[in-house]
């Protein structure tokens, strides 16, 4: 018997403790918002929070998170009628295409903003480069993170100009 707390609710599980957390969430707890993408911590689709930090649940055995606080995409919004600021920004910027990676993207972004209220482009690269989006919506994800954080947006035309000036 392993006990974990998921989205604020304590769960006691009769599962092989070597089972990756991803499959416990999806099969035993039927929280299917967290996705399977690679099984080897390469794509980030399975990202959830353990005590607020982003981890890849596909390579994290249940035993490793016994007694810990886990948050999944289903628990990201503060309440049912109040989305997380990132969820709102994701809609405003029309981020998702197929949407399959977006639970993981949002969980990685939320962990970033929880410890860094105004991330730089470098901070966003570091926090988000573990999450693949095969639809390629990186520009929109970057914009939505900055918008949720209230960080100044990067204007591509100005950026190009700045680069010219720096190099020229």
């Amino acid at each position: 018997m392993t006990a974990i707390t998921v989205n604020g609710i304590e769960r006691k599980l009769q599962v092989d403790p070597a089972t990756p957390l991803l499959w416990v969430l999806r099969e035993q707890l039927e929280l299917t918002g967290t996705k399977f993408g690679c099984g080897m911590a390469q794509c980030g689709a399975c990202t959830v929070h353990v005590n607020g930090a982003a981890i890849r649940s596909c390579v994290t055995p249940l035993a490793a998170v016994a007694g810990q606080q886990i948050t999944t995409i289903e628990g990201l919004a503060p309440s049912a009628d109040k989305p997380h600021p990132l969820q709102k920004a994701w809609i405003d910027e029309q981020v998702p295409q197929c949407g399959y990676c977006q639970s993981g993207q949002l969980m990685s972004a939320a962990a970033l903003l929880a410890t860094n209220a105004s991330p730089s482009d470098g901070d966003i690269n570091d926090a988000m480069s573990g999450n693949i989006c095969r639809c390629g919506m990186y520009g929109r994800i970057r914009k939505a993170i900055k918008s949720a954080a209230g960080v100044q947006q990067f204007d591509p035309a100005l950026a190009a100009l700045a680069k010219e000036i720096n190099h020229g």
Partner: protein
């Protein structure tokens, strides 16, 4: 009640509760045996688009395309709602069920014509030809960047306009006023002189009794209210809170989980299985050998090799059980084949030019070569590529009392349904297919092998089974973008003019026009030789355009450089006969500030490619510093005629660019011992956040016939990038991926 028009059959009827339902069918003509399977009786037609108007004044557009991220549903609903003059807030849409009524007939026409636009008077001929082609097809396909320009243009708009005319006629009759005094706006009908107003739904029942108009009047562009406007996609709220239902998320009572393995060497099979260790693993229920299945499809017949599945109480147990399985694969004739032997074969077949077939012959290439001041030669190569959709292949099936239900995300629900029925030996009526959101498609999910395997397992176990492929199986059992070699020769005169273009590549794939060039070059000889391999191939985002766009737009760049001229200007001078292409290219150069020189170590490259009815130019800017390559910025311009959903179109172009960039920089499927060497994202990488360039997309609404958006962003990116690298470094990359050329990305 219905009526034939020249190209369509519009039918109308009343649904329970007094709502209205309207269908638009594209004329099926002579019914073939294959089509008859979907259309039972003479009175039935191939309904292509449905519109429902219910008693709450809500319009539902029923859309025969699957959602794989492209947002087609939203754009199609915009087209219907605009012609109807509906209130956008009262418009819903749902995906059509996998029933023959939704066979995608206009798409068949467009496929047949390889995306060519055609005038109305040709339609009867086209239909005649299509019916012959359609004998082997099940046409409810999402692909070919066709949803908006076929279903939208020929179905949704016609349905919306027809319904509006019927509602107006019903109001005119009820109010006893001439129909031209009735106007429609925001899902309401008005008679201005008397001040009467009623919602559409008030007249739905009366309209449903009417004979639909023969040819409803469509709006001119300047009358568009919803088309061309930014609207939010309907499917996104569920994609940010985890509630969107992908096939992987289906949960059925008593469901088991499974994973599969097929012989890694294509053409191979199972010699022996030792399942003793697997049987000891906690949770494992069964080890099942699944027989090979032959399936006919629009890509021709294909035999899916036998596979072995481990079924368990959970996916993790199934995976552990598979890892513990000892499988001996049969030896095959393909065991000695590698990427090296395949490219050596390509090289030899191009050199021998055995049974070379021409795509285009114009002018006298041989004489031009003899008279040339300079002849430029180059060989280009691209490797096989996998699709790696974010969602690994999976399907869930349940078989009870001779009926099979399948939950799957797929691009071709009708052909999947048929394939599952054939594999189980069921009548098609005894298969129900639930198409879920697709976590990516890119062409892979037009192949039904994974749905068949799930159905075979459910039939074998007598319980619902969710089959989940490992990522490793997904990478190693794909239908790959074909590897291609392409050889060029160009003749240059003393003033740098190109007088002849000669090109031979291996293996012709769709679409036909992919290797053709837009430039005015007097002598051209473009052709192909056959050089088949044992590697299964299939549609990969933009099909042949992604390889041919790299080849032709790299080589014209080489020619310009050899002529000592600016690659942009060189193209401009040879596009004077194509104003649409010229306008796109010029806008890309302007927006990218082509005329401003870059600092040392930086470079700019340009590429132009027309595909799927759209014209796209891209300019890439790179920085190369001690072999470290940074792709800084991409400026893209698309002319797709008219952008129904401008933000959706921009998103598609961004997506196509990143997808093509992953392929250009990293993408390589290597063949060793007849099998794929790569297995997961660590050795088959994708572009990540830190590598992604800034992308600016500019849209030209030229008013030309509508083109696609899902694919045309991909073809120009590889050549724009390698042209930029040449501009920065003087190094010409003729073989992809770029990582093999010694650049760190």
């Amino acid at each position: 009640m219905g009526k034939w028009t020249r190209r369509a059959f519009i039918s109308a009827g009343v649904i329970a509760g007094g709502g209205l339902i309207v269908g638009v069918a594209i004329r099926p003509g002579k019914r073939t045996a294959e089509l008859s399977k979907h259309v039972a009786g003479d009175g039935e037609t191939l309904l292509h688009t449905w519109l429902k108007l219910d008693t709450n004044n809500v319009v539902t557009a029923i859309i025969p395309h699957a959602e794989m991220g492209q947002g087609a549903g939203t754009a199609l609903a915009q087209m219907l709602a605009d012609e109807l003059d509906a209130d956008w807030d009262l418009v819903k849409f749902e995906e059509a069920p996998a029933l023959g009524g939704f066979a995608n007939y206009p798409m068949g026409e467009a496929i047949l014509l390889a995306g060519a636009e055609f005038p109305n008077f040709v339609l009867p001929t086209v239909e005649g030809a299509l019916i012959r082609t359609a004998q082997a097809l099940d046409l409810q396909i999402t692909g070919g960047s066709l949803s908006v320009r076929t279903t939208g243009a020929y179905g949704m708009r016609v349905a919306g306009a027809a319904v509006k005319e019927m509602l107006k006629a019903a109001a005119a009759a009820a109010w006893k006023v001439p129909i031209d005094q009735i106007s429609a706006k925001d899902s309401q009908l008005f008679h201005e002189a008397s001040g009467r107003i009623q919602p559409f739904s008030f007249f739905a029942e009366a309209a449903g009794q009417m004979t639909p108009p023969v040819s409803p009047t469509l709006k001119a562009v300047d009358e568009f209210k919803i088309m061309g406007r930014h609207v939010e996609r309907h499917d996104l709220p569920s994609k940010v809170d985890g509630t969107a239902l992908f096939a992987l998320d289906v949960r059925l009572p008593d469901m088991l989980y499974a994973t599969v393995n097929r012989a890694p060497t294509f053409g191979g099979g199972i010699a022996n299985i030792d399942e003793a260790r697997t049987r000891t693993i906690e949770g494992v229920i069964d080890v099942v050998k699944l027989p090979s299945v032959e399936v006919s499809s629009m890509f021709g017949g294909f035999t899916y090799a036998e596979s072995v599945a481990v079924v368990a109480k959970g996916y993790w147990s199934a995976k552990q059980g598979m890892d513990a399985l000892s499988i001996e694969w049969r030896n095959t004739a393909n065991d000695g084949i590698s990427s090296d032997t395949i490219f050596a074969q390509f090289d030899q077949d191009i050199s021998s030019a055995f049974e070379r077939e021409a795509d285009v012959v114009r002018g006298d290439v041989a004489t031009a070569m003899v008279n040339a001041d300079k002849v430029i030669e180059a060989d280009y190569r691209v490797p096989f590529l996998a699709h790696t959709c974010m969602e690994p292949l999976n399907a869930t099936a349940m078989v009870t009392n001779g009926h099979c239900e399948v939950w799957v995300g797929c691009q071709s629900p009708l052909s999947f349904r048929r394939s599952v029925a054939d594999a189980l030996g069921f009548d098609i009526e005894n298969v129900t297919l639930h198409n879920c959101f697709m976590g990516g498609g890119f062409g892979r999910k037009s192949r039904p092998d994974y749905a068949i395997q799930a159905a075979q397992l459910a039939a074998s176990l007598g319980r619902p089974v969710q089959l989940i492929w490992t990522r490793e199986e997904d990478v190693r059992q794909d239908f790959y973008r074909p590897a291609v070699q392409s050889r060029f020769r160009a003749a240059l005169s003393s003033n740098g003019d190109i007088t002849a273009w000669e090109n031979t590549y291996v293996d012709k794939h769709e679409p036909y026009e992919a290797p053709l060039i837009p430039y005015s070059i007097g002598a051209q000889d473009i052709g192909h030789v056959r050089s088949p391999t044992h590697i299964p191939f299939g549609a990969w985002r933009s099909v042949s355009h992604s390889q041919q766009g790299f080849f032709t737009e790299s080589f014209i760049d080489e020619v310009a450089v050899a002529a000592g001229q600016d690659p942009y200007q060189y193209r401009v001078e040879r596009l004077q006969h194509l104003p649409r292409e010229l306008a796109v290219l010029k806008k890309a150069a302007k927006e990218a500030q082509w005329h401003i020189p870059l600092a040392a170590g930086r470079g700019r490259g340009i590429s132009l490619q027309s595909s799927f009815g759209s014209v796209v130019a891209e300019v890439v800017e790179v920085t190369v510093n001690n072999g470290n390559l940074s792709v800084d910025r991409v400026v893209a311009v698309i002319d797709a005629g008219f952008a129904i959903s401008p933000d959706g179109m921009r998103a598609q172009i961004e997506s196509g660019i990143i997808y093509g960039l992953s392929a250009a920089v990293h993408g390589e499927i290597t063949i060793k011992n007849g099998a794929v060497a790569e297995s997961n994202f660590h050795d088959y990488p994708s572009v990540r956040m830190s590598e992604a360039p800034l992308i600016e997309t500019h849209i030209i609404n030229s008013g030309e016939p509508m083109g696609g958006a899902g694919e045309p962003g991909t073809p120009p990116i590889a050549s724009a990038l390698t042209n930029a690298i040449y501009n920065a470094t003087g190094e010409r990359i003729r073989q992809l991926p770029i990582k093999n050329a010694g650049f760190n990305v």
